[in-house]
């Protein structure tokens, strides 16, 4: 490892420790329960690939999907890219969608803009004062703008500014601003050992929101994580291997803490193969597991990439008997690499 790299690593570790300390200070578990923060739609996973890995995205450079986990990962955006994601929620009547555009055009910065919505469908109000009417249960809109760059070799930093509008029962409304920030450090290793990244992020730093009379905190979340990736050649002959494609293994883990909730541990596994079936650039299979207190969720996903497009799917078995959620996303890259 060069002297320059060592300096960068030391700086990152310092930054990592500071961030983690701040994270734990601001989001430490007061009572370890869900439902004590408002604007829950801010916690919706926008990345189908990452969700297949149980949402382990803190140290992952996941291109546009990093917008939902660690904006520092947006430094992996190498071309103009567009991604859409759709979720049919476990209630069967709620829908969540997002569209994100990212570009490397403002070098050395990588920028991304995103819009997401949440529509919970109708609720038939049945109140003891005699009111019977149908309203939209919840309609939320979120706009996001992100900036990411690499100030030092192996180090990525990123930040996101969010502005959201919440509407409950077409009667209780609020607007809010929030920030995300994060860093990812690629730890130089011997090539035989693969690639290791560590990352930290803080999401949804912002003021409390008042929808009626009393203010509630938003779900501020701090995370640290690590990702290890390695290419697994299937043939010793390099030329033949290139022709046949390669297997890529990814193992990732996150530790996170959301305000007023128990700590959360998540683990993800991805096995991808390039040059599948002759026409797919790659195909990947994913598994993930997340545990927060006594609430565990299981994640499964797969994806394909062809030409400049990719399609990802994730299935989530939510904690206890909440049910299943299906996530699907489509992404496309266009333009020239900066």
């Amino acid at each position: 490892m060069s002297r320059k790299s060592l300096v960068a690593l030391k700086k990152f570790i310092f930054l990592f420790l500071i961030t983690t300390y701040y994270s734990l200070l601001t989001t430490h578990a007061l009572c370890g329960e869900f439902g004590l923060t408002t604007a829950q739609f801010l916690r919706r996973d926008i990345g189908t690939r990452v969700l297949g890995l149980a949402g382990v995205g803190t140290a992952l450079s996941a291109q546009l999907e990093s917008l939902g986990y660690n904006p520092a990962g947006l430094t992996s955006v190498e071309k103009n890219s567009l991604m859409t994601n759709y979720i049919n929620g476990f209630s069967g009547s709620d829908n969540f969608g997002v569209i994100v555009f990212g570009t490397p055009a403002l070098a050395p910065f990588k920028t991304a803009l995103g819009v997401s919505y949440y529509d919970a469908g109708n609720i038939n109000l049945n109140l003891s004062n005699g009111i019977r009417e149908t309203r939209k249960a919840e309609q939320d809109l979120l706009t996001m703008g992100s900036l990411a760059f690499e100030p030092l070799p192996y180090l990525s930093l990123g930040a996101t500014l969010k502005y959201c509008h919440l509407d409950l029962a077409q009667e209780f409304k609020a607007n809010a601003t929030a920030f995300d920030g994060g860093a990812i450090m690629k730890v130089p290793l011997n090539q035989k050992l693969g690639h290791l990244s560590i990352g930290t992020s803080i999401l949804n730093i912002g003021q409390n929101i008042t929808l009626y009379r009393q203010a509630d905190p938003i779900p501020t979340k701090s995370s640290i994580g690590a990702v290890w990736q390695k290419e697994l050649g299937i043939h010793p002959d390099a030329d033949f291997e290139d022709e046949q494609g390669k297997y890529q293994l990814l193992l990732a883990g996150d530790y996170s803490q959301t305000k007023k909730e128990d700590a959360s541990y998540a683990y993800g596994f991805e096995l991808a193969k390039t040059k599948m079936l002759g026409f797919l650039n790659w195909a990947a299979l994913r598994l993930g597991y997340r545990i927060t207190g006594s609430a565990a969720s299981f994640h499964f996903g797969f994806g394909w990439g062809w030409s400049s497009s990719e399609l990802n799917y994730a299935l989530v078995k939510l904690p206890k008997d909440a049910g299943l959620e299906h996530h699907i996303s489509y992404g496309i890259k266009f333009g020239h690499t900066e």
Binding site: C31, G32, E33, F34, G35, L36, T37, T38, A39, Q40, F41, R43, R44, G89, F90, S91, G92, S93, D94, Y118, A120, G121, I123, N124, L125, N126, L127, S128, A137, E138, L168, A169, F172, I209, L211, Y212, R213, Q214, D216, P217, T292, A295, S297, V316, L318, P319, K320, D321, A322, G323, E325
Partner: protein, 490 residues
């Protein structure tokens, strides 16, 4: 899979599926009765004179003769013949008579239509009239023939329509000659009691053999016809098709009657209501292999034929469930009951026979054991049919009613959740965030069937008040699995 293979794959899939759909009715089958009813005869039609049946049959392809019976089983041949090739010598002298049918005239008497083959190999439908059904006088002229007179016309059957018109079903060679392999079943209409006919079109494609047309009391028409087995030319089975309008027919599954083709083959077919009026008796002309003379045997639809019961799922909470059974061969007051090992029978009440294919009634399944039950339909004479698992006794789906599904916990508000279940079970009610994270277990315990109420005051399992927002209530219990929305504001 190339496009051509894909086409044939889906074509076969579609045709198989549609044939399953269109042949689902369980039509009644015939059971052969003992003894020969008539010797050397081909039964054509039956007229009722009070309590006496008179059957018109053809002998030796030359004479129309009659027999009488009071029970449909024992027939006494009347002397002489009603019509003969020797009596129709005129401009259309006939060398043989192959079929006949009779319609009662509005004024008095009858008109007989009969198919005759002339000595010049022309096929015509001719007619004769009678005031008593015994003495017949030939009418002049031709009632009906194909566009070319050498085209085979035979096996005519008549049906009166509700508006007074008559429909004639007949066999015709589809290629203009006389090859039984090319016989198709067609129809024609008459508005003047059979004097003139206008053709309607093909009803059943070749090969179709001699047939019989019956009208059910729900106005449906059934055509029962002789047909060969695949790769055979002799008739060894009786198939059937039904129609609601008399023109578009739907095949019924399997054969109504069949025989061992190594012993002989069917030659003619006449189906008529049996004396008890709810069964059908087929008079089949049967020619033993090696013989050229057919004898008439009889076959009867014996036991009730079950097709469906609606509803097939009844509930243990219902005191009386009205049902409709589709099938056939139902006596005027059959009994219907449900049976199950280890449980008392449930007898239906208020049984009504609506028509040949429908009976209705009511079954009381209140507090009866859950599961599948055997349905037993028994006719007045004791003939019965049992259908295992025809009815399932179940309990209804549970229900949730939430009052104050938008409430303010800081102002004393709470949601009242009324739960109704119809079977004892563990009931779980859990509150989740919109992201599916568990907030509160409102209820998780065994409950007896019935309705009960629980409340959620907006707290978490730890006793803290949730943040303002939308929450989902997941309810699970006996046939209860749903998600409801609750909004909390504070």
């Amino acid at each position: 899979m190339n496009k051509k293979r894909k086409f044939w794959f889906f074509f076969l899939l579609l045709t198989t599926y549609s044939s399953l759909l269109t042949s689902s009715w369980a039509a009644p089958n015939f059971t052969q009765e003992t003894a020969i009813r008539l010797s050397s005869a081909s039964a054509q039609t039956i007229l009722e004179f009070g309590s006496t049946f008179r059957m018109y049959f053809i002998r030796d392809n030359a004479q129309i003769r009659t027999s009488t019976s009071t029970d449909g089983l024992n027939w006494s041949e009347e002397p002489g013949f009603r019509l003969s090739t020797s009596t129709i010598l005129n401009t259309l002298d006939a060398s043989s008579i192959t079929a006949c049918a009779i319609l009662p005239l509005d004024t008095t008497g009858y008109r007989m239509l009969y198919t005759a083959l002339s000595s010049t190999n022309s096929y015509h439908v001719l007619s004769a009239t009678s005031t008593d059904g015994l003495g017949w006088a030939k009418e002049s002229g031709v009632r009906f023939q194909a566009s070319t007179s050498t085209t085979f016309i035979g096996s005519i059957r008549l049906q009166e329509l509700s508006d007074g018109r008559w429909r004639m079903y007949y066999l015709q060679d589809s290629t203009g000659g006389n090859n039984p392999q090319n016989y198709e079943l067609r129809s024609a209409l008459s508005t003047n009691e059979g004097v003139t006919w206008s053709t309607e079109g093909k009803r059943i494609s070749a090969p179709v053999g001699p047939f019989s047309a019956i009208t059910l009391t729900n106005a449906k028409t059934r055509l029962l016809y002789l047909a060969p087995l695949a790769n055979q030319t002799t008739y060894s089975q009786v198939l059937s098709q039904t129609s609601s309008d008399g023109t578009t027919f739907t095949p019924e599954s399997s054969a109504r009657l069949s025989t061992d083709s190594t012993k002989g083959s069917y030659a003619s077919l006449l189906v008529y209501r049996s004396t008890e009026n709810f069964r059908w008796r087929a008079y089949t002309g049967f020619t033993v292999n090696g013989s050229t003379t057919p004898n008439v045997y009889s076959d009867l639809t014996q036991t009730p034929s079950f097709d469906s019961i609606d509803p097939a799922r009844m509930y243990k909470t219902q005191n009386g469930t009205g049902f409709t059974i589709k099938g056939e061969v139902f006596s005027s007051t059959p009994t219907v009951r449900l049976t199950r090992a280890g449980a008392s029978d449930i007898a239906a009440t208020g049984i009504t026979r609506l028509d040949d294919q429908t009976i209705t009634g009511s079954l009381t399944t209140l507090n009866q054991p859950l599961g599948s039950w055997q349905l037993v339909i028994t006719n007045d004479d004791g003939q019965s049919t049992s259908v295992e698992g025809a009815v399932t006794i179940d309990f209804p789906s549970g229900d949730i009613q939430i009052t104050d599904n938008l409430f303010k916990p800081k102002e004393g508000g709470r949601a009242r959740i009324d739960v109704t279940i119809y079977n004892d079970s563990v009931v779980t009610l859990r509150i989740f965030t919109i992201n599916g994270m568990p907030v509160k277990t409102v209820l998780d315990e065994s409950k007896s069937a019935g309705t009960f109420s629980v409340f959620w005051n907006g707290d978490t399992d730890g006793g803290n008040t949730v943040a303002s927002g939308l929450y989902y209530l997941r309810s699970k219990g006996a046939k209860l699995n749903r998600v409801d929305k609750i909004i909390v504001v504070k």
